[in-house]
Symmetry: C2
Amino acid sequence: MNLIILEPSEVGDAGDVSLLGTRAAHLLNVLKVAPGHRVRVGIIDGPSGVGTVQSLSDAAVALRCAFEVSVPPRPRVDLLLALPRPKVMRRLWAQIAALGVGQIILTNAERVERNYFDAHVLAPERYRPLLVEGLQQARDTRLPNVSIHRQLKVLVEDALDGLFQSGLRLVADPVATRPVSVVVPKSLEERVLLAVGPEGGWNTFEIDLFGAHGFQSVGMGPRPLRTDTACIALLALVHDSMSSRHSLMAKPIV
Amino acid sequence: MNLIILEPSEVGDAGDVSLLGTRAAHLLNVLKVAPGHRVRVGIIDGPSGVGTVQSLSDAAVALRCAFEVSVPPRPRVDLLLALPRPKVMRRLWAQIAALGVGQIILTNAERVERNYFDAHVLAPERYRPLLVEGLQQARDTRLPNVSIHRQLKVLVEDALDGLFQSGLRLVADPVATRPVSVVVPKSLEERVLLAVGPEGGWNTFEIDLFGAHGFQSVGMGPRPLRTDTACIALLALVHDSMSSRHSLMAKPIV
């Protein structure tokens, strides 16, 4: 937990926050804070800042927080993902949020089993804490938007222009030869939408549908990867391609 | 399972193989093979090839295999990894093997808990099937070598020159500003050794130790990632940097 994420409703007028549960336990048992110690905090979809420990007990920590003026920008990558099986999706939420995406668009595809959509892991009360876990890992406050679509054709033809209004559209295709680093221009200022298929890949109809709606195919070489591995690898490659023109100048926030 | 991996001892003189268990079940229930069908096969650390289904029963499949003359090259990336907790390591074996590494060097570090080394997941009979699972996913036959080191200093000072004789040495450091794509030259023909630290990172002594032994620091930007996410992301970035000069010419094996 590299950042303590707060709900807007938890923060009082003077920046006072009273923590219980997991976050308090982390401060008490892992960071072993004492009054006067300062910790990184952030409000969901709001600014980050610094919380100063005011007092603590066995299970509670009181902080007084000061927040930055500006809110961090939403990550410029969006993910369109053919829904993997529930066990894999449960593991992916936090990792996707940590890598940084503006939104997660989950969809059906021929090779997605229908009953995956009945899984508990698609209930907001189940996945939201996992997304927050990813934000706390990566020190971000911008919670990815999530939308769930049971028909790929309806999503791509009718809904997608509303969800992703402009930018570069990529579809991962194991038989494509052009890597992300060739397709994503170094000077790109636009958003990128990355579509990652199910185990076994998109079928021909689906690849053609993406192609007809402005998606360019990208590949990762001759080694077929599991969906979850491919998803993490491709998000890393897209972020790297988009940011590499800044790489020698940017200072990380330590 | 994109390739059926065979042990050398399973293959008869004429290329005859009799499969039972998981591999037979995959051929029967997922690929739904019939006599005459051809499937991809490969011998561990040997050539890949094609197996033609000779006969099948409820639980067994007989193949006659023809192998290529040459053995695929060992992946040119090696991984040095501070041992993560057992649950995370268990999930990583197959993903690391699928991404492609020549060897996996597991080590202690200050922020690694000692009892991680007692875990069953470090017994070859437990991790070897997971590595094979990764090879079957990625259509590779080259099983990564694995070595386990309980003292980082002894590993780096005494053992490492034997394990990794020449090539580019990288250490992932969250505070480093140079990304993989800047540090790995496009025309690199050498091997790359990538060192990935524990949750919480390497300590200052450890970073200095790596620096004194020829490692260059690489970073992934301002978002700290979990070890497993970072490991997958960094292996993808290293492979991409090493291969990108071929990217427009290389044809994937479909």
